[in-house]
Amino acid sequence: MAAPCPRLLVEDLGRVPYAEALALQEAALTARRRGERPDTLFLLEHPPVVTLGRGSRKGHLRDSPEALRARGVEIFEARRGGDVTYHGPGQLVGYPVLDLSARGERDLHAYLRSLEDLLITALAALGLPARTVPGYTGVFVGEGEARPGHFPRKLASIGVGVRGWVTWHGFALNVDVQLEAFEAIVPCGLEGVEMTSVERELGAGVPADLPARAREAVRASFLSRYG
């Protein structure tokens, strides 16, 4: 007798180079579309890399590609929407490969909102109240609406792709990432966005095993929604 098929498989991959993770997603997406594997959430982190989405403007990169490479930061042109993104150690990256059609949830914006909600739920479990900002994608902390000089601080970036209603790409949550790394780029094309991390927002209350707890919280919130 076959084991019951889980609705959502969560795979913890550790540190995976960006290009490798991309190939993995493509393979999973193809297999998912053929019905050869269940919906999957890949959790991982990347070595330092700057990815350029299709909406990228060169001016959003603060340093020249050469200067970045010299510092050991890879540069990757991703076939996805959105702008410039930095990924690096201390950032929890999640790539859900979900068949939205099979779930009867054929609504891309609803999916985007769902990712935001799940991250907010996970952050609440870590004791950090986070929120969305109307008109922007991502998860933020801090009071007030977006305005110059007073943009809420950004905790997580989201960029989603879908091929025939199967999703790929996903989110990047700053857990205990080195925030100086973001100095290399202007996140998401928003002049003046301040990036923050769970570690910094929690301040004195940071548990020693924060990365593991963050992974657990994200896993739990995704399983409660898609599992």
Binding site: G55, G81, L108, H109
Partner: protein, 404 residues
Amino acid sequence: MSVEVELPALGESVLEGTVAVWLVKPGDRVEVDQPLVEVTTDKVDAELPSPVAGVVEALLAAEGDTVAVGTPLLRIAEGGEHVSAAPPSSEPAAAPSVAEPASDVEPRATPLARRAAADQGVELAEVEGTGARQRVLRGDVERQAARNSEPPRPVASSTPSRVPTFQYSLQPGDQLVPLTPLRRLVAEHMVFSKQTSPHVGTVAEVDMSGVARVRDAQKRAFERTEGFALSYLPFILHATVRALREHPRLNASMLEDAIVEKKALHVGIAVETEKGLVVPVVRDADRLSLAGLASAVEDLAARARTKKLSPDELKGGTFTISNPGRHGNLYGFAIINQPQVAILRMGEIVKRPVVRELDGEDAIVVRPIMHLALSYDHRVVDGSPANAFLYRIRELLEEAEFDL
């Protein structure tokens, strides 16, 4: 057979998408599920897979185009016969009796058709074959060549005017609200209408006592039989439709060198929804009783709010009534919904002191008063008929003879 692949509904709030990258080109052979095109919407990239196997005939949108949901993006000729007709690559194509080249890109065509296509500069891929198994014959090529040499038909400009914009440097406290597709459409239409029609306004003060009496008398029974409250709007609609029958110039459109006075009376009702302004249309409003109008309005308004209107229900209006509701203030002039020539806007209904003659004496009495403001296109309608039309609506409302 050709299949058109449209931009699918990508989500409830997604009304349009931008063609980011074409992954195929005309002449390409595609399999079922093969990605055809990448479409972006906000932060989401969607790859549309092919619904059929076949050959791409034509791309109907360019990279960078923003198109509405339902817009055809490309045409695919279904079927893979010319591929199966191609000899396996390991074998030499040694069958001279089979005239088709063993290519998976080029459509099947007779040698004569190929020569004719080359001579006349016709792309074989755009020719619809009428021969056996859709093979392209010489006649097909010649028909296509004749079509190609026709002068292009004038295309109705879909974006008649751009919304004027200006540069602004953000100040502390400013909030940026992204433009939704609906907001953009509304903005463009408003500018277009004001540029097209010289708007003139006229206002009537209407004593709604008679209407209020009828409404109060019918309210209970109506709610019991129909299941919803009887509002004032159906009365205004009823009177307007009868006045339009008598003044066809207000139910018109201006063409290049003529004015068309329309027989059909389809009245749009401007409804505010969460997402913005929509104007569902009560079709053949002159054929409906007061109760029929009330039901139609209730149904359209409810579905407008829950976004369940079909595109057809928003089209074809010949006149518009704008009902700003409880907070309509004294009166205001609405912008004409093109290509119509007039729009009626309801004001609030408020009890006011008015002078009436009672037993031969002037007296101040309290009456429910509503101001009705008509905006009309002075290119098409002169002041006198416009005022006569509005006066007639007022008369009908004050006479308050309505058949439920």
